[in-house]
């Protein structure tokens, strides 16, 4: 018997939780929101103007001017905007009768000149950061972004393909292992977040074609990962990769939210200060919002008797159960012959099934 019970990783799954999410520009820009302002999911919180391209070139080599002569030959300075074809630097040649010039390839701005080297940003399209989470701005960092507080249902995923979108939840299939196929997708998939146990390759392509807002599956076929990463269609897998069905409580919560508008943030960063889990968030209607601390995300699930857990490793990936009422870890031998500290878990499906599961292969869910 092991007397000390260590920590477990966790996945948040809640029908009412108050969250705070930082919304940040990749480069400095302008923040349009103010503290206390209510903001819609698609409202722009901050905007930046990243260059379409950053050109770097040696003016010395462009027109053969010596480094020392660059300042006096320049017609534009750092910070100056330039039009396409506008002359940036010119050097007289042929006894001053003609001149050799370098023209801006496109409209942009000169961002740096050092010695003979110039960096010029070619203007691109504005980059907007929408609030994504409908709620209230509670903090603003000038030029960078802000923090939005929102209340609603939250489903954290295991893996996400990146990108984010807002859409209406549309559930497919009556069971957590139902696979979404292309033949059930109609025009009304446009703008929807499609929910199913899994997805076929054809359905993934069709959803993209129909401009669905996103996809949430239990498990993703590993062969579809590379394609999912390239599509402009956020995809979230609640369990991971393979064939494990969507966990029952996740499936039930998503089905209860069918038809509601949700924010799908499929950004996934596994570690570090910018670590983020992909998630689906459904904001509460205003009238149901409360300020109770009980609903704050900061109140996290804890390792405790009867706490709800989920398997994070095969053969129990995605299975949900509860810890025993008397929390005791015991050494058990695994099928591979390893001795590991394990706890007796009661699985929800099939109901009442008990199994000693290695502690490291569980996470809290709630």
């Amino acid at each position: 018997m092991i007397e000390f019970i260590p920590q477990l990783p966790e996945t948040r799954l809640s029908n009412t939780v108050r969250i705070r999410r930082e919304r940040r520009l990749p480069i400095p820009g302008e923040v349009s929101g103010a503290i206390g302002m209510r903001i819609g999911a698609q409202d722009i919180l901050a905007r930046a103007y990243p260059p379409k391209q950053r050109r770097a070139l040696s003016l010395t080599r462009v027109i053969g001017v010596r480094e020392a002569d660059v300042p006096k030959r320049l017609l534009k300075q750092v910070g100056d905007p330039v039009e396409a074809r506008e002359i940036i630097i010119a050097k007289p040649i042929s006894m001053g009768v003609q001149r050799l010039v370098y023209r801006a390839p496109e409209a942009g701005q000169i961002t740096a000149i050092q010695g003979s080297w110039m960096i010029m940003d070619v203007y691109g399209s504005p980059y907007d950061v929408p609030a994504l989470y409908r709620g209230t701005i509670v903090s603003v960092t000038p030029r960078q972004g802000g923090i939005v507080e929102a209340q609603g249902a939250l489903v954290q995923g295991a893996w996400g393909s990146g990108k984010e979108a807002v859409g209406v939840i549309k559930c497919f299939g009556s069971s957590p292992d139902a696979i979404l196929d292309a033949n059930v997708l109609r025009e009304d998939a446009r703008g929807s977040i499609l929910i199913a146990g899994g997805v076929t390759s054809a359905a993934l392509e069709r959803a993209h074609e129909l401009q669905a807002s996103g996809i949430v599956v239990g498990s993703l076929d590993p062969n579809l990962r590379a394609r999912a990463l390239t599509l402009n269609l956020p995809l979230l897998a609640t369990e991971g990769f393979g064939t494990a069905p969507m966990s029952t409580p996740v499936f039930e919560l998503l089905n209860a939210l069918n038809g509601q508008e949700a924010a799908l943030n499929a950004r996934y960063q596994s570690r570090g200060r910018d670590a983020s889990r992909p998630e689906l968030f459904v904001p509460l209607v205003l009238s149901r919002m409360q300020q109770s601390d009980e609903e704050s995300e900061a109140k996290r699930p804890a390792v405790a008797p009867n706490a709800r857990i989920r398997g994070i490793c095969e053969p129990n990936l995605g299975r949900v159960g509860t810890l025993p009422s008397e929390l005791v870890l015991k050494w058990v031998a695994t099928e591979a012959g390893t001795q590991l500290p394990a706890v007796e878990v009661e699985w929800e499906n099939p109901p009442g099934e008990r199994e000693a599961v290695p502690w490291t292969n569980l996470e809290l869910i709630g």
Partner: protein, 585 residues
């Protein structure tokens, strides 16, 4: 506290697991009296490294019955009269994120290569390199359409990246300065174009004559540090000052930013070492003590570390992009699933292996319970090691093949793979030849012993050899020039010192595992048949030697090197099954 601490609490905080151990005097010898392993808590949602450390200590308290934390969860130090507490606390870590680095130099074959090697031995990832001599025209200012004076793609890429660090190298000391001035202009221009909050730090490790010019151009824009030239003369490499400076930057910018790090450091006497630094000290100690060439490997969940030491010189590579945990997704992208599948018998389904490796990357704390899952991870481990060892392939002086002791630490052991399975993984991927010993880090605290040595070298040495290292045995890999088949490659006679005798014919292309228990010694006589030799170090067709047994025993690998892969995947996987049976994996 006594001058030399006798009871030492040691922790190794990894990206995934935090290991804690207690060393104390037992019957006049230092022993590891207990060790625990808990989840690391550096990242969200916990965001406090101390939570995992305290949990590990509490677990250790439960295990040993000794109080180590007081009622306020502070470390009891020094040891009290009632035996509670410890005299010293030692910590190492590999939990911080790597430094994203760009190397810019004048010549790819000289300065850039030298700097890249120096960076590879630190917790830094080289994201991009720029070399003047590679471009058609200095700085690539010949555009892709062949028109002179176009923009430089290499510099534009640098301008798009957001590195933490730029390493500038080039020129031998006393060489031309002008090219370095231009390089400084580039770095300064790129830096000036970045937002101030995102500007990287620059280390200049080039021609010392150019320092003034470089500082003049860069100093006002970017933080700049100067170190000795990485290549002071064409035939003289000097990577240490650059490595040390990168280590310093890593500690200041990454390690010290781990939430709760200040509290962890405050508990220690000598500060927190990086796990790789500490592990290097262990490899060096073993190399010196036993006069061996040591290859120490750490297959971590977030980084792979290779250290080669002959006692006089150390060589190190740290690869953050491919690892047996978080890095599995990147590994699959880099080498592809098929390369991994070649190490698995035909009974393994590609889709299920693919899914399992991706899921392990998502949940690196998980411990597979099925033998097949551990086997799949070890297949990925082979590709990680092949990739990692490849870093040194072009260095003639550094032949991993002549290692005499291989030391394995890391996640595969913690996950409970069979020693025979892990030994086969090493044999398949490392190309080590001749006769060598293999040992493993049984509790995950071997690297940390390098830090323990700073407060009590005797305790570190004794705990290391008494309790942390497990000898797996001895391996013999002869040179095979004949073709595999039924022909006998070697005749082996083993005479254990406890008595008895065992003879075995080892067929060409096969492996033979001869049992020889832990602590047992045996005299071995090996006779090579036609087409087989013992390598340059051992002349003649017969050689005798005393060997040591271990958890695995004596392994004879007569498959030949490089490994004879079958001509198609299916046949290779059949062969793999055969190798696994032969090795008892």
């Amino acid at each position: 506290m006594a001058d030399v601490p006798t009871s030492i609490l040691v922790t190794d905080v990894g990206a995934v697991a935090t290991k804690v151990g207690l060393i104390d005097l037992v019957a006049g010898e230092y022993r590891l009296v207990g060790a625990t392993r808990t989840m690391s808590t550096c990242d969200a949602p916990h965001d406090d490294v101390m939570m995992g450390v305290r949990q590990g200590i509490m677990q250790l308290e439960a295990l040993t019955g000794r109080r180590l934390l007081d009622s306020k969860n502070a470390l009891i130090k020094p040891t009290r009269l009632d035996g509670d507490g410890v005299d010293a606390f030692v910590a190492v870590t590999s939990a911080a994120l790597p430094l994203h680095t760009v190397v810019i130099g004048l010549s790819r074959d000289y300065s850039v290569l030298s700097a890249q090697r120096a960076v590879d031995s630190t917790f830094a990832v080289v994201e991009h390199t720029i070399a003047v001599d590679e471009e058609s025209g200095r700085w690539g200012t010949t555009a892709s359409d062949g028109r002179a004076g176009g923009p430089s793609a290499a510099v534009e890429k640098l301008a798009e990246l957001k590195p933490d660090l730029i390493v500038m190298v080039g020129g031998i000391d006393g060489g031309a300065v002008a090219p370095l001035r231009e390089m400084a202009n580039i770095v300064a221009a790129v830096g000036a174009a970045m937002d101030e909050s995102q500007r990287p730090l620059v280390i200049f490790a080039g021609n010392r004559e150019a320092r003034g010019d470089v500082a003049e151009r860069i100093g006002g824009i970017l933080q700049l540090r100067m170190v000795e030239n990485v290549l002071p003369k064409l035939d003289q490499l000097n990577p240490t000052p650059l490595q040390n400076e990168i280590e310093l930057v890593y500690r200041q910018r990454q390690v010290e930013k781990i939430t709760g790090f200040d509290k962890l450091a405050a508990w220690t006497e000598k500060g927190v070492l990086t796990s790789a630094d500490a592990y290097t000290r262990v490899a060096e100690y073993l190399a010196r003590k036993y006069q061996l060439r040591v290859l120490a490997l750490d297959l971590g969940a977030a980084a792979t570390t290779l250290i080669y030491s002959d006692g006089a010189q150390n060589k190190r590579a740290i690869l953050e992009e491919t690892s047996i945990g978080y890095g599995l997704e990147a590994l699959l992208d880099r080498v592809g699933l098929e390369k991994i599948m070649r190490w698995l018998p035909n009974s393994f389904e590609a889709d299920s292996v693919h899914a399992q490796l991706l899921n392990q990357a998502i949940h690196p704390t998980a411990t597979p319970t099925r033998a097949q899952d551990l086997t799949a991870l070890n297949a990925a481990g082979r590709e990680i090691l092949l990739h990692s060892a490849g870093i040194w392939h072009d260095e003639a002086k550094l032949a991993l093949g002549d290692s005499e002791l291989i030391l394995l630490s890391g996640a595969p052991i913690a996950r409970g793979s069979k020693p025979t399975a892990l030994l086969l993984m090493l044999l398949d991927s490392l190309d080590t030849r001749g006769i060598f010993s293999v040992a493993a880090d049984s509790v995950g605290l071997v690297p940390a012993m390098g830090a323990v040595a700073a407060v009590n070298p005797e305790a570190a040495a004794q705990a290391l050899e008494n309790d942390c290292l497990v000898t797996w045995g001895t391996v013999f890999v002869p040179q095979v020039t004949a073709r595999a088949g039924d022909a006998v490659a070697l005749t082996v006679r083993v005479e254990p010192q406890r008595g008895g005798q065992l003879e075995a014919d080892v067929k060409l292309g096969s492996l033979e595992l001869i049992p020889l228990g832990e602590g047992e010694k045996a005299n071995v006589e090996i006779r090579a048949e036609r087409g087989v030799s013992f390598g340059e170090a051992i002349k003649g067709s017969t050689f005798k030697r005393e060997v040591q047994g271990g958890t695995v025993g004596l392994m004879i690998d007569a498959r030949g090197r490089p490994l004879p892969f079958a001509d198609n995947l299916e046949r290779q996987r059949e062969k793999m099954q055969q190798w696994m049976w032969e090795a008892g994996a």
